[in-house]
């Protein structure tokens, strides 16, 4: 672990002397990209962070939203890409552990986990398959053991992730507003480290996450212990209820170095600590190792001496260790001692605030001609093509994944995974809907429009359950920021997200930046992920059967925007074309009208149109509800497109609505009034999914057969190749 060249001078200048070895380690951890956001922080300020429901407090690692009646939800997103790429099981599992502790730090109980998974081409690449299988198992074993339901996510495969993995995890917490931890501390308060013992595992992890995998330090593996984490959750929540916690911080990247310096900096205090007081797992750990170890399942608590006994009692009950490692001082210094000897004594604001960078950016050369389309080979048999498409890893049902996650525990899950967004019931009678989405294929072609598209897609998914988006989480994952072309794609995505968030007044309540996502074969495609939280005041739109004679209505225009579509990439092996663009006004009108008709109880089901276009969205409805349908493609509002473009364009702002015929008039009146583009495109019934154009049949799938393939192909691929 080391500082970059200029940074050593910077540090020496700031503290007026040569740093000690421990100081170097502490600062290197805290000034790493992962902990300091030095490349991105200046720019992240553009995101709108305030809103009527947002509660901001100093020192929170997660966003807090007021959901009324004295309750709050908290949310956070993290990734664990580098560790998962070398040890998918432990990397993914400890990723879940980390984000859960961020939720816990606010004093709320974690109630849901989301995961976004990205790997290379699992059809051909055995290593990618191994990574995928083990990452899923890691998340399952960790979340299931904690008893926190993993209720949603996404899975995507793309060659750009070969020999690599993107593992994103988001978590949601819930609690009483009055129980939120109001981080504070006063001189004489004590600093307690609670949880697992500190070992040599994960040393240098945060810096590892900030390096490219090429130069990886493979010692940074972390072993998950969900059982300890579960006990920590219960102990912390009990201590919170008993008012034993003044300030709370989880230990993540950078270990004690970051937790101590950031807590001190956020609360404008100093902390003096002794590494000999830290409970360790291995003998003879030196101060440097103890300060930067990233051993999992640890929390830092500031409390007062008179509360210590009670806190120790709780820890004893839950059989977890807690050690008093230091105390609060007045001097805004982070003073690390080993017994009597001083190892480090640094101003906390110096440690916690790396010098921010203003990196150069430049539009990448590859974007020059990316929108030009090549001539495609005509598809002779669309039915056959659809069967192949439905079985393809990106389109196939992800039931093999979410079936391994306990998504029911907590008995809040009203809408289960497998639909657009999952919905949880809250204790105040309201419902929370949430989904995360990313789309690197779109973002590669147009980082700005692609990122906006992810944002809109996540909103659409939440809207389809009847929820109004109230908050957003963003996770910006890019390659090496020192490359101006990469940095340009980062800035473009960020600007797009900012513009959309401002237009829709959806505050950003949390986020994360992960850079240096590159492998020897190159940079990953820009992969921003957006998580949306939506609130439902009355009833969510949940499972009702679709019956014969029910109508299907599409809201929104289908446009000639095939760039980055699954159809271009999977069927035609072509990367290019113009990617879908969101028209903000149209997006807003469509979103509001769909919410309106759902709230009025007019629709039985709503589904958004996204990956794979209309053809896949309609088929998903049919396969999920086990019923056939007849679709007339000429009725789909579009820009005079060929059939394949109507079928497979991934234009945004489109929704499919299912309703009883008797409600159609009312629906049309409402939709007309709000001036949305829409049309009735077909009816349900029978056991075949049929797409026709001017009475000519284009696609004809048996519901049973396609459903089997759609449900099973991912599992078959993973287990039996």
């Amino acid at each position: 672990m080391s500082l970059e060249s200029g940074e050593l001078d910077d540090l020496t200048l700031k503290i007026g002397r040569k740093p000690t070895s421990t100081e170097l380690q502490i600062v290197a951890a805290e000034w790493s990209e992962h902990c300091s956001y030095k490349s991105s922080k200046k720019h992240l300020k553009m995101l709108p962070m305030k809103g009527p429901l947002v509660i901001s407090e100093k020192g929170y690692d997660s966003g807090v939203l007021d959901v009324g009646d004295g309750y709050v939800i908290t949310a956070h997103i993290e990734s664990h890409n580098h560790p998962s790429a070398v040890e998918p099981y432990g990397g993914a599992a400890t990723g879940v552990g980390g984000v859960i502790r961020d939720i816990l730090s606010a004093g709320t109980r974690p109630i849901a986990i989301f995961n976004g998974l990205r790997f290379g081409d699992i059809e051909k690449d055995l290593h990618a398959r191994w990574l995928f299988k083990n990452a899923v198992k890691g998340i399952a074993d960790y979340g299931n053991c904690l008893g926190i339901p993993t209720i949603g996510g996404e899975v995507e495969f793309d060659k750009c992730y070969s020999n690599y993995a993107l593992v994103d995890v988001a978590a949601i917490g819930f609690g009483k507003k009055k129980n939120l931890i109001k981080n504070h501390a006063k001189t004489g308060d004590i600093v307690v480290l609670l949880g697992g013992a500190t070992g040599r595992d994960g040393i240098g992890g945060s810096q590892f996450a900030s390096d490219s995998l090429e130069s990886e330090n493979r010692s940074a593996v972390q072993i998950p212990d969900p059982f300890i984490e579960k006990l920590i959750i219960e102990a912390i929540l009990e201590a919170r209820t008993e008012n034993l916690i003044h300030a709370l911080k989880d230990l993540g990247g950078g270990g004690l170095s970051c937790a101590v310096s950031e807590t001190a900096d956020a609360l404008s205090i100093g902390i003096e600590m002794d590494v000999d007081k830290v409970h360790t797992r291995e003998l003879n750990m030196n101060p440097d190792e103890i300060m930067v170890s990233e051993s999992q399942e640890r929390m830092l608590i500031v409390t007062s001496n008179d509360k210590l006994k009670k806190l120790e009692g709780i820890c004893k009950k839950y059989r977890i260790t807690c050690s008093v490692i230091g105390h609060v001082t007045l001097d805004n210094m982070m003073h690390v001692k080993k017994g009597e000897k001083t190892c480090a004594n640094l101003p906390t604001d110096v440690v916690a605030n790396a010098t921010l960078l203003d990196r150069p950016s430049k539009k990448p050369a590859y974007l020059e001609n990316i929108e030009n389309e090549k001539k495609l080979k005509p598809i002779l048999d669309y039915t056959k093509m659809m069967m192949k498409f439905i079985a393809s890893p990106n389109i196939a049902s992800k039931i093999w994944v979410y079936g391994q996650y306990d998504h029911e525990v907590g008995i809040r899950t009203v809408v289960k995974p497998g639909k657009d967004a999952s919905v949880l019931r809250l204790d105040n009678g309201k419902f929370l809907s949430a989904k995360i989405d990313g789309n690197p294929k779109h973002c590669y072609i147009n980082p700005r429009e692609g990122a906006i598209g992810c944002f809109e897609e996540a909103c659409r998914n939440v809207v389809c359950t009847g929820a109004k988006p109230i908050g957003m989480l963003d996770h910006l994952q890019f390659g090496n920021p020192e490359n101006p072309e990469i940095f340009w794609t980062f800035l473009e995505s960020l600007k797009g997200i900012t513009d959309f968030a401002k237009y829709f007044e959806i505050p950003c309540v949390g986020g994360k930046v992960s850079l240096y996502n590159e492998t020897p074969s190159g940079q990953i495609k820009p992969t921003p992920i957006i998580g949306i939280l939506g609130l439902i005041d009355k009833t969510p739109l949940s499972t009702q059967n679709i019956s014969k004679g029910d109508c299907i209505v599409i809201v929104g225009q289908t446009k000639n925007e095939m760039g980055g579509s699954e159809y271009f990439e999977y069927i035609h092996k072509f990367i290019g074309g113009k990617c879908p663009t969101v028209n903000f006004l149209e997006s807003k009108i469509n979103m509001n009208s769909v919410l309106n008709v759902i709230t009025k109880g007019l629709v039985k089901a709503a589904h958004d149109c996204s990956k794979g276009g209309l053809a896949v969205a309609v088929s998903e409805l049919c396969m999920t509800y086990q019923i056939g349908c007849n679709i007339s493609l000429e009725k789909v509002p579009n820009q005079k497109l060929d059939v394949d473009r109507i079928l497979f364009s991934e234009s945004h702002s489109r929704y499919l609505l299912v309703l009883e015929k008797k409600d159609l008039k009312k629906l049309e009146t409402l939709l007309k009034k709000s001036k949305v583009e829409y049309n009735v495109i077909g009816v349900f019934g029978g056991d075949h999914i049929r797409f026709n154009k001017e009475s000519k049949n284009i696609i004809d799938l048996s519901v049973d057969k396609s459903q089997k393939i759609w449900f099973n192909s991912l599992k078959e691929l993973v287990l039996h190749g």
Binding site: V86, G199, R200, R218, I223, F227, R281
Partner: protein, 86 residues
């Protein structure tokens, strides 16, 4: 050709924690009546039955299988291979 039984023991590398072994020790064994146990490490074992010309080649084959098919992840675990006559 002869038949061999090959035991592959997969365990965490030294220095890497073993939460399962620790829990079995602290929450079960040390709560029992025997107090002379000082450590428990958990491991996984696979017993291969393989037809090869000799012990050496049986061992090499199994080692290759374990490496190629990622039966274990060398980042976290190490394996020990013992060959026995069937």
């Amino acid at each position: 050709m002869a038949i061999f039984i090959v035991h592959v023991t997969i365990e965490n590398k030294p220095g890497i924690s073993d939460p399962e072994g620790e829990t079995i020790l602290n929450d079960l064994v040390l709560k029992g009546t025997t107090s002379t146990v000082t450590k428990i490490k958990s491991a996984k074992m696979l017993q291969f039955t393989i037809k090869e010309k000799d012990k050496k080649s049986a061992k090499i084959k199994v080692q290759n299988i374990c490496d190629e098919l990622r039966i274990y992840n060398p980042m976290v675990s190490k394996i020990t291979i013992d060959v026995f006559d069937a």
